[in-house]
Amino acid sequence: DVKVTQSSRYLVKRTGEKVFLECVQDMDHENMFWYRQDPGLGLRLIYFSYDVKMKEKGDIPEGYSVSREKKERFSLILESASTNQTSMYLCASSLGGGGNQPQHFGDGTRLSIL
């Protein structure tokens, strides 16, 4: 079974801090994703990576950046955290190719910005 591991289940940070969320997958998947999930808004794509060092902006990239230096690891960076970035963050991975491959999700990081 594919395992997607997010480094923290719960995280509390302060406004203006630089925040790193880490995600690791163990099945050699080409694609990796970062979503945020908010009540009433569903899942929204922040960034997508289809290969090492390759990335695409999703629907809501503002205030975020990503890093993929190794195939198994995809990091989400909040450059200067703000309270409106309080949310549940979900990482996912899938095999390469188009969108016809199922995604495998981590258990999420619930981030609170004070």
Partner: protein, 115 residues
Amino acid sequence: AQSVTQLDSHVSVSEGTPVLLRCNYSSSYSPSLFWYVQHPNKGLQLLLKYTSAATLVKGINGFEAEFKKSETSFHLTKPSAHMSDAAEYFCVVSGGRSSASKIIFGSGTRLSIRP
């Protein structure tokens, strides 16, 4: 362009009765369609997927879904609900060969099970 609409934000059924969660989609391509389940404080887990093979798709935990092209629907069903089915369910569409970044999630349906 693609879109997906889950027609009910909340469905409540009694244990042992059938479950129907409704999903309509639109896609310019032959779509790939998925249902995922999310239990509280967990990530999403794949229930089943349709990728242009059989129109009736069987998934895990007794769930199945039928792809109806004429109705642009992909409703999720289960003959008999169990208490452990209480969760949030997401219908997802992608344009098959389009980029994986074009995957569209529905807004979710919360399923409650009455004892």
